[in-house]
């Protein structure tokens, strides 16, 4: 922090923003008010750079119960139940302290689900790191994975899926996103209640407030790391998963007992955010009494109490007549609860401490009236050169077997077992398909329904063409749930980008939104919420644009779900879809040809949507013996993973007349590898033609080897060892 800077600037507010605050208040804000605005109007809380773009996303559909704007989105999953889900980034804290950063990320997203009144049932963790050949990246990777497990395992929410990719631009800036999914009776969702009476109590439940994460949102998440290398250390928060678990149980018992009028988690901007949003949503104001806030250490100043990001706290809105019952539930679970304020008419947030009013501002101005910018945008220079340098037309003289092993053991493609084995995947007893499947599947208690969940993001594709990259991410996420037999329902997202004040970054962002919106419209999967993480850069070089899509699909009868593994010998193997010469941005191009360039594969959104419908129909009719989507590494990897998952070899011929490396490694979209029992071959063919999808019969399952024409022959065991040992070997240094 520069010493000679005016206070508002050192808190991250611009001169114009200060003028806006003055205009709202009709006077100069005092230091405490300034700190409150700085937190609420930070990029992280106000979405000031992204708002105008986010508005263009499709958010409506008959399945949507709660759209963007709440702590989490909710969709109707039948039987009177709602699935509540949301994704969030904790990249900045994780870059500073990987274990605690990731752990508190889990804690935060789980509380978002709880604050809707839903029981958290599953976590997924899409992650991005720099190459594991560097020690710093290994430490970040190991620390983040341990932190996610450390928190998720301890609170009893299974981590059932995720995604891990490695790329140099993520070296100093890991991307750590966490998605949580919960389930609640649809009529019990805790949403903004417009008719909460005046005098309703604001009850702070959970941990005492300390100095941790003071200014976290402005310090960590709204600037680049190096701007704050010195300042950011005191902002590190330590997660207390045990307290987190007690908080989950307490809140759910309160919700089930009908004891609450509202519930908000305390995340970024702490009490300021929770109080101003609670008041604004009720169309009211609030009085806060900081002397009533339980403190972890003496001597906290008002601005510290107001902006502390101490973890494991929730703010409940309670009818005074039910206060005793509420206190009773809290103390049953060993948590403290304190009335720290109440709702008042008139719309002002009035804060008292030591008997004096220390802040008095309109609640709405904090919560809803933050600035919105239309930041300048411009495509990055040199973009056309990279696109035109397409590896599809390179001269390839590699050995097929070596190329195959290189791709299979590339860290992006290799098994992520080392990571997901550190996660409890089973607690709650609902996990029908665990990590290692295209999508995770969790069943919904008391029904035959199940949720299929997948997280996907674009790495290279998004770098080369952010519009296509984001559209591919939605397509792959939908395909991943559809191959398991689930109808894609809706998405959440986390948009990870560099500094939005740079026109190239803003352009990448806008293009990504456009791609995501187009794909979501075609697939009928509205966006129910999400999170934006900017300033992921250092030394003027940003991470690749990384929009991560969290897809939620629905299976009506989980007994009919389809798994990726070949079920055994004697099944017919087909490729649904068509392979084009599209090596731009492929794993093969990076690993074997050493280039990240060219045009990403084209995406025919209508064909993609037909593929999803066909796969779901095939699953419902119990026709498919296995199904696995083709994405990174192309047909070669899809076949290999089906063989590994089912411990069954295959013998196939390549369809079409493209060169072998195109047929094996092109990453053309809208494809899946499926197998069927021999008697079902014809049914599959007519199903595909009913959906106007190309279908090629490749061969049969069986035997100890993976055999492709006379090009390639490799035992399942050798392939397994390449696939499974790659990451542990790299971690061993």
């Amino acid at each position: 922090m520069k010493v000679d800077q005016p206070l508002h600037q050192s808190l991250g507010l611009t001169d114009e923003e200060l003028d806006g605050i003055r205009a709202t208040l009709g006077r100069d804000p005092n230091r405490i008010e300034l700190a409150m605005y700085a937190a609420m109007w930070s990029e992280h809380c106000s979405y000031k750079s992204s708002k105008v773009h986010l508005r263009t996303l499709p958010t409506e559909g008959p399945q949507v119960l709660v759209g963007p704007g709440q702590d989490a989105g909710a969709v109707d999953i039948g039987n009177g139940l709602a699935a509540v889900f949301k994704m969030e980034s904790h990249s900045h804290p994780s870059a500073v302290e990987p274990y605690q950063g990731a752990a508190t990320g889990v804690g935060g997203i789980v509380r978002d689900i709880v604050s809707m009144g839903a029981r958290p049932m599953a976590l997924l963790d899409p992650l991005r790191f720099g190459p594991l050949t560097e020690e710093r990246n290994r430490l970040l990777f190991a620390g983040v994975v341990a932190g996610i497990g450390g928190y998720g395992n301890c609170i009893g929410v299974p981590t059932v899926g995720g995604e891990i990719q490695f790329a140099e631009p993520h070296s100093a800036n890991p991307t750590v996103n966490v998605m949580c999914v919960g389930v609640a009776p649809a009529d019990r969702l805790v949403t903004a209640a417009p008719d909460v009476p005046e005098g309703s109590m604001l009850l702070l439940i959970g941990a005492a407030t300390g100095r941790d994460g003071i200014g976290g949102v402005s310090v960590l998440a709204s600037r680049t790391i190096e701007e704050d290398a010195a300042v950011s250390r005191p902002s590190v928060q330590i997660g207390d998963p045990f307290a987190g678990k007690l908080l989950i149980e307490t809140c759910l018992e309160l919700v089930e007992g009908g004891l609450l009028l509202g519930l908000q988690d305390l995340g970024g901007a702490g009490l300021t955010c929770a109080a101003s949003e609670s008041a604004a949503r009720a169309g009211m104001g609030a009085e806060l009494d900081l002397d009533a806030v339980p403190l972890r250490e003496a001597g906290l100043e008002a601005f510290e109490i107001l902006t502390s990001e101490s973890q494991e706290r929730m703010l409940a809105v309670v009818d005074p007549a039910r206060l005793d019952e509420v206190h009773g539930v809290c103390s049953k679970w060993g948590l403290s609860s304190a009335v720290v304020g109440w709702l008042v008419d008139g719309g002002r947030l009035i804060v008292r401490m030591g008997g004096a009013v220390v802040a008095d501002v309109p609640a709405r101005s904090l919560a809803d009236d933050g600035p919105a910018y239309e930041r300048p945008m411009e495509p990055p220079r040199g973009r056309h050169e990279i696109l035109e340098d397409d590896p599809t037309f390179a001269i390839v003289d590699s050995d097929p077997r070596e190329a195959f092993l290189a791709v299979l053991s590339s860290p992006n493609v290799a098994s992520k077992q080392w990571a997901f084995e550190q996660y409890d995947q089973l607690v709650q007893g609902a996990t029908v398909a665990r990590p290692g499947s295209d999508a995770a599947v969790i069943r919904v208690e008391g029904t035959l329904r199940a949720l299929a969940l997948s997280c996907d993001g674009s790495g290279r594709f998004g770098h080369l063409d952010p519009y296509l990259g984001a559209a591919h991410a939605v397509a792959e996420a939908s395909r991943n749930v559809a191959v398991m037999g689930a109808t894609p329902l809706a998405i959440t997202n986390c948009l990870n980008f560099g500094n939005p004040e740079r026109p190239e970054v803003m352009w990448q962002f806008a293009e990504s939104i456009r791609g995501m919106a187009d794909a979501c419209r075609s697939f009928g999967t509205p966006v129910t919420g999400g999170n934006v993480s900017f300033y992921n850069e250092s030394g003027g070089s940003a991470i690749w644009p990384t929009p991560i899509i969290g897809m939620l699909g629905l299976i009506e009868d989980y007994r009919l779900l389809v798994r990726p593994g070949f079920p055994g010998p004697g099944f017919l193997v087909y490729l649904v879809g068509e392979t084009f010469p599209e090596l731009g941005g492929s794993e093969f191009a990076e690993v074997v040809l050493g280039t990240v360039s060219g045009h990403p594969p084209a995406l025919d959104l209508a064909r993609e949507a037909s593929l999803h419908r066909m796969l779901v129909e095939g699953a419902r009719g119990d026709l498919l013996a296995s199904a696995h989507d083709c994405s990174e590494g192309g047909l070669a990897v899809a076949l290999a993973e089906s063989a590994l998952a089912g411990d069954t070899g295959f013998a196939v011929s390549l369809p079409g007349d493209e060169p072998w490396y195109v047929a094996l490694f092109s990453e053309s979209a809208s494809r899946a590898v499926v197998s069927v029992a021999p008697e079902n071959g014809e049914a599959l063919e007519s199903l595909a033609s009913a959906h106007h999808l190309p279908l090629s019969r490749l061969g049969e399952t069986g035997g100890p080897g993976m055999v492709v024409d006379s090009l390639l022959e490799i035992t399942v065991e050798e392939a397994r060892s390449a696939h499974e040992s790659a990451i542990p070997k790299l971690l061993a240094g």
Partner: protein
Amino acid sequence: MKYQFQVIVSLKPGLLDPQGKAIEGSLPAMGWANASNVRVGKHVELVVDAETEAAAVSQVDEMAQRLLSNPVIESYRIVSTAPLPDPRFEDVS
């Protein structure tokens, strides 16, 4: 010469210590309501073979910084194993 050290690693003051907090929370039920300020850290013992005590100390210091503690959230101190002040306190088990 072999020098024996103890490195005590603790969470920096002001940071939440979830372990200490949970232990403290359960003490009253065990009849020890008069105990407080519980903080849990790590205690690492090790032996360093070096020419001089000064060399050993500077090596342990580096190890404590780079390997045994996490400087972002923890501080450490180094104690050379001198006889303990009062035999009453010695290894009582």
